[in-house]
Amino acid sequence: MIELRHVNKTFRVAKRNAGMKEALKALVFREYTQVQALRDISFSVADGEMVGYIGPNGAGKSSTIKVMSGILTPDSGECCVDGLTPWKSRKQHVRNIGVVFGQRSQLWWDVPVIDSFELLRDIYSIPSSAYRRNVDELTELLSLSELLRTPARQLSLGQRMRCEIAASLLHDPGILFLDEPTIGLDAVSKIAVRKFIKARNRERKTTVILTTHDMQDIEALTERILLIGRGQILLDGSLSQLKQRNSRTKKLNISYSTGTFQPLEGVQLVAEFGGHAEFLIDTEVIGVSGAIQSLAQNIEITDLSVEGASAEELVVSLYKEFAI
């Protein structure tokens, strides 16, 4: 159980204008601006839940993860993870969490990955039987057998990320924080990583909180979404709810051989060219199947596709809606 209540965090950032004069001035007088990274953040996550945490760059995603993992002390507010305040009982708290920062590495650069794993075994005092079981299991699920004996510096990004994820799970944490785990990965690695995270959540009931800019991550993994912008939680709901909310209109693409269109209420012809037509359907006026049926009476349809707003478009429209 993770619970955040009215968490605030402000950073001080030195600022100055361009130019030599300004640079020299900044030697003596330094101007700081307060950047409020988190304002009044409250939410809770139940055990075994998988939550996607989204928002534009600099919205406060990583800061929230850092608060929850005990790295960052907020200015005010409460955070309670399994009964512990992360920054107060850091050492005890971190035993039950696994963290992956997609943009950093926890593996020792010069030595084979397995050496880093053994160091982690000793740092977390993992009993050797449990350690062996976990390494075997993770090796199989993430296909690491070829990688463990290779120095981290010689791994590709996708290979390294699989090892990073394994490294964060060696001590059987109940909660897993993933900060952009798929950043920079190719399609195959992304899918492998997603599949693994999903399985882990389903089979081990590991609570997963994941930040990402990749909407496919969200679609593939999470039921629940938290949207953060300018340090505030703007939305907390399920992906399907969100989609519904923005899915009053559907786009219908049709290829046809013969016939002409009859005007239809709730259906708007947007484009027409050489046997192709694009319609927008207002689903509150007419259902998608109703619209297709009516259209098919007058024309010979050879191909068609219906598109809802993609998650990507959804997020763009959300960012627009909240002006973040």
Binding site: I71, K91, V94, D110, V111, R121, S125
Partner: protein, 270 residues
């Protein structure tokens, strides 16, 4: 015992990492041996000019030089653990803070591990070569059994003092976010003050006395002189006491600085 294991594990992984760079170790050995010979010749010239004005025996001086060359990697204050600077300046410290260990102990251990593992590869070839050089210019056996025990104890204490000192420099980097400046200021001064260039007894006495009370005199100065019997008896106990004193003071200071830095830490980037 379980608590100790994680610390030992840092030494192990550092040692493995060091083994990857055999050429660096070999080059280190060659350089240190050659530098030792040159230093020896320099001191020999002074010695032959006026043996009575020499503050240490020639044999003691030779032992001092050869030990310094052998254990160079252990006390070399130029050598920082670059991964720690990187962790601070680029934000990797985030990972270290998600470990169930306190950061000071972890970094202190990493530091010590870096030094010890480098030394393990390098010290013995130099010692073996130096033993082959005839007395009083080569490496001598320890002056006595007590000197050997005192050497080992003060060597360990000395490394600890050096690491505790370096921890303060890492701490300062939390504030400056740029390691070069701090390194330059501290390190160039310390090389002289530690007796790394010239053993402390060779300093003029008005300077040598106050210097012998500083933390710099509590690093390599003690073990190198204990080995040959240059420091013995009551002075040995005093020197070890000084090492313990500075170790406690520097660790307390380093911990205090680190806690303050972490309380206001903004993990850099993203």
């Amino acid at each position: 015992m379980n608590g100790l294991r994680k610390y030992i594990s840092f030494f192990r992984i550092r040692f493995y990492a060091g083994l990857q760079y055999r050429a660096a170790a070999l080059a280190g050995v060659a350089t240190q041996f050659a530098w030792g010979l040159l230093t020896l010749l320099l001191f020999l010239t002074f010695y032959e000019g006026n043996p009575d004005a020499f503050p240490m025996e020639m044999q003691e001086t030779a032992a001092y030089i050869w030990l310094r060359q052998s254990f160079f990697a252990l006390f070399n204050l130029y050598a920082f653990d670059s991964t720690i600077f990187e962790a601070i300046t680029s934000g990797g410290v985030a990972y270290e803070l998600t470990r169930p260990m306190d950061l000071y102990s972890m970094w202190f251990t990493k530091n010590a591990a870096l030094r010890v593992s480098r030394t393990m590869l390098r010290f013995w070839p130099i010692l073996v070569l130096a033993v082959l050089i005839p007395a009083p210019y080569g490496m001598m056996l320890p002056a006595s059994l007590a000197a050997l025990v005192g050497f080992v104890v003060s060597l360990l204490l000395g490394v600890s003092v050096a690491c505790a000192f370096l921890m303060i420099i890492y701490d300062i980097t939390f504030y400056t976010m740029q390691p070069q400046g701090v390194r330059l200021i501290f390190v160039s001064a310390t090389e002289l003050l530690c007796g790394d260039l010239i053993p402390l007894p060779f300093f003029p006495s008005w300077l040598a006395r106050p210097l012998s009370l500083t933390p710099f005199a509590a690093m390599s100065n003690v073990p190198y002189r204990v080995y040959s019997g240059n420091i013995a008896g009551a002075e040995l106990w005093q020197s070890i006491g000084l090492q313990v004193f500075w170790l406690l003071v520097l660790v307390a200071l380093g911990r205090c600085l680190m806690n303050r830095a972490l309380a206001r830490v903004a993990v850099q980037g993203g």
